[in-house]
Symmetry: C2
DNA sequence: CTAAAGAACATATCGGCGTTATGCAACAAT
DNA sequence: ATTGTTGCATAACGCCGATATGTTCTTTAG
């Protein structure tokens, strides 16, 4: 009675191919025909395994959030929760810069654009699933409050502010709007400190914690990222083709 | 010797039609065929007047920034520069919510998406033109610094932080990610206060100024928006058709 | 007033897109 | 061995952006 009788390995292989196309050549390369070519199959694979292009994209968006979650998990909880919070921000940005096109689809390809990627649209459930990733940030905000570093009384609200501010900076960065001398790096560092001060921390303490998070970044985030492109990422990206069935000659090669 | 021998009124009419389609039916309605139908002409109008679909979109993006600029101009300069700054934020959001699809194209349709709207892409000049809109915010930040309300020493950096934070909240709002009890309204109000505190203002002063900006909003921004959809906006959106030339029968209806 | 030159446009077409209908080949169950 | 199901290739449909071609109208020159 399993609703999925299809080979999950083939399914994963297609997602891998699609993710690679999106990452390496951008959204305009993400077409059924292109995917079919890469998978050495016909365009039907997309519809047999996903029903529509939009569903494939949704699967990739889910994977994108999972990847972000994996980065968050790598942030240690120390006795300086503000530094932890800043490091969560760095992890968020690192993930976005590592997968810029996917990030764009996650937050810009949905209800906003509507047109991009074959008019696919996220469902409310998809967005709820995305918001769930915030729970790590909420938990960290709670610790900041408990430590007396943040003045506000609503950890979830603080988390939303951190999220939207960092997200805004990143979209501007990806859109090419942040150029020298006010480049993304500089704005981001300043933003982190201001965010902490805005939440209630003192200027000195915030600057210190942000600096500390910068030190921790390479060890906890940048090094040994969050798995490979696919997720599990250890299936060679090729469709098994069941029994190695060959594309029967049918009318032979009489195309000319 | 004017490089444009084409009728500028027709050009404006096409932009109007395109802007209306984008606003009312979203990006997927913005096609050469649809525009041609609305203008009672052939798809060639787009190529005769703009060369390509992407150029038409770029023109609309420019118009979008001009409209934002017009909203900014309506913010009075008072002796409470922090309230002025908060009101600039409200004006920014008001513009984005009044033209959500256009806003999405301005910041999400360019280098980010790549695919949406026929793979058009903003040039560096376009982005620079967009960034120029920030000058009002920079000037306001300068006044905040001069009044001793902000502690930071770089007005332009502060302006960038205000921009990216508000922009981030708005993209999340348009993307449907801000839902009760942490809806966009609540997050925005909190964000404004935190932004001012993060820039150096005290909690009490910031809260007061943000509240003051909320009072000024309806009078200075929301009422009598910033002109109509087109810009000048007083040409009836119809292509003059020069002499009312009829689509000649040519071969009559002998297609079979 | 006429005739050449050029601008604006409609038509038809090309290649590519997402998607679907059809039918065949391989498997599973009897 | 027969039958039913499943997975997929092929071909097609209706869109899309873009372009080549040729006709008509406007402008200009004589």
């Amino acid at each position: 009675m399993s609703p999925r009788r299809l080979d999950p390995r083939t399914r994963a292989a297609i997602i891998d191919i699609a993710a690679r196309l999106l990452a390496e050549e951008g959204p305009q390369a993400l077409t059924t025909r292109r995917i079919a070519t890469e998978a050495d199959a016909s365009t039907m694979v997309v519809y047999t395994y996903f029903g529509a292009m939009s569903e494939l994209v949704r699967q990739m968006v889910h994977e994108g959030f999972a990847r972000l979650q994996r980065y968050f998990t790598q942030v240690r909880q120390t006795d300086d929760p503000v530094a932890d919070m800043a490091l969560l921000g760095r992890a968020y940005r690192h993930n976005a810069l590592a997968n810029p096109h996917l990030y764009a689809v996650m937050f810009g390809g949905g209800a906003l654009g509507g047109s991009s990627l074959g008019g696919f649209a996220l469902t409310d459930d998809d967005r709820q699933h995305g918001r769930y990733t915030l729970s790590d940030v909420v938990e960290c905000a709670r610790r900041c409050l408990a430590a007396g570093r943040f003045r506000a009384d609503d950890a979830e609200l603080v988390a939303h502010q951190m999220w939207s501010a960092v997200h805004g900076l990143i979209t501007l960065e990806l859109g090419g709007y942040l150029i020298a001398p006010y480049d993304a790096e500089r704005c981001f560092e300043a933003q982190l400190v201001s965010l902490m001060v805005g939440a209630g921390d003192t200027g000195e303490a915030a600057a210190g914690s942000v600096a500390e998070s910068r030190r921790r970044f390479s060890a906890e985030i940048s090094a040994a990222g969050a798995a490979g492109p696919g997720g599990g990422a250890h299936h060679s990206a090729s469709v098994p083709s069941r029994t190695g069935r060959r594309p029967r000659p049918r009318k032979a090669a009489s195309a000319e």
